[in-house]
Symmetry: C2
Subunit: 219 residues, 2 copies
């Protein structure tokens, strides 16, 4: 085999990794799996896609080395092969919003203006927690909270925030978090809380980054 053929083979392998990331469902699956392992129909339901398609796309990601599986009885749980997979996809999303005006616009249309929600850094939140000056709210679905969350956080899934306002204090700062920078759950929750008269702010990024930095967690 010639050098030129070997070079093409290598670049075809690199392109396989690009192909794995070239589909919206697959990127969404990675985002959900960054919250913790999930079974196939759980993922299909959570993302709103047909089971057979979800299974097929999970296989694509698995064959690209990005996911691993574990069988437990009749269910198969998929998880990220490594935390670096999530980091890489975050970089992809950040690069897309920086270089593609259409992506930047789609992010703005979906998330709204996040800067007015006064995002709190992870260091700042750690201090606020230490001083007992904050109530932290995890607005992700209950399964994701159960799989792991910020130590001391309260679970109020985003679709229940409006109905459970009485559980939250009007006198203290509330910080809400969700899946990450491109997740709409916490921004929506903060807006709702603010319009109901609470002092609410957003956590910068979400659970995966908090977890990756080795900050205090619970499950």
């Amino acid at each position: 085999m010639s050098d030129r053929e070997r070079k093409l083979l290598l670049y075809e392998q690199f392109a396989r990794m690009g192909k794995a990331l070239a589909n919206p469902l697959r990127l969404e699956l990675i985002d959900v799996l960054a919250q913790g392992e999930r079974s196939v129909d759980d993922l299909a339901t959570s993302c709103g896609w047909k089971l057979s398609n979800t299974s097929a796309q999970l296989k694509v990601l698995q064959h690209a080395g990005l996911l691993k599986t574990r069988r437990s009885g009749v269910k198969i749980f998929y998880r990220l092969a490594d935390p670096s997979v999530h980091d890489f996809v975050e970089t992809l999303k950040a690069l897309a919003t920086e270089t593609l005006p259409d992506a930047e616009k789609a992010a703005r249309d979906y998330l709204g203006d996040v800067s007015v929600l006064e995002p709190v850094g992870r260091g700042e939140l750690t201090e606020l927690i230490a001083r007992g000056e904050v109530v932290v709210v995890d607005v992700r679905p209950a399964e994701e909270y159960a799989a792991g969350h910020i130590a001391g956080a309260l679970s109020i899934p985003h679709d229940q925030v409006a109905a459970r306002l009485t559980e939250l204090p009007k006198t203290s700062l509330i910080v809400a978090y969700c899946r990450g920078r491109f997740c709409v759950m916490a921004p929506e929750a903060v807006r709702l809380l603010r319009s109901a008269g609470f002092d609410a702010r957003l956590l910068v990024d979400g659970w995966p980054q908090w977890h990756a930095e080795g900050l205090p967690i619970a499950s």
Copy 2:
């Protein structure tokens, strides 16, 4: 428009970035452009692809926001929109070789065992240059050397190394570099020099990383 539709639109934009990286020619073009700007048929010749296809793939990268162009007379020069594009593609290639056994094998088949070539770090090379204890050789094509190279490096394109051995000292250490971690030019040159009795080593990574770190350069 519903939240769900907006979410899909956003993830479709993210997937566009993945699609841009889902083709071997496009990844190779990014590697070459990381060495400096190039015209279209220069790129087509250098990568060994048809002009019309090269032009089409450059357009795909441009529409993904990864490349910019500059017209100079009758020629159009493409360049990376930002150095972060190269960093990102390096991360993609590293992730592929770490997670995909086929990619790891393809890299080994193409590059051989690089660790026996005693790769020199950038800090170490800077010191060796300061002490005048090294001859640095740039084995990339002449155009890439002309567009920018490590300060003081000699240009000996990889296909001329065998014919120009007399220009190199047997008494001093020689360090060769090329396009980067997955480029075969410098490893091949170092092997050739070693088998001819020279004391040769490889530079870790290549020109783009040296340049990105703000180390001494010339052009």
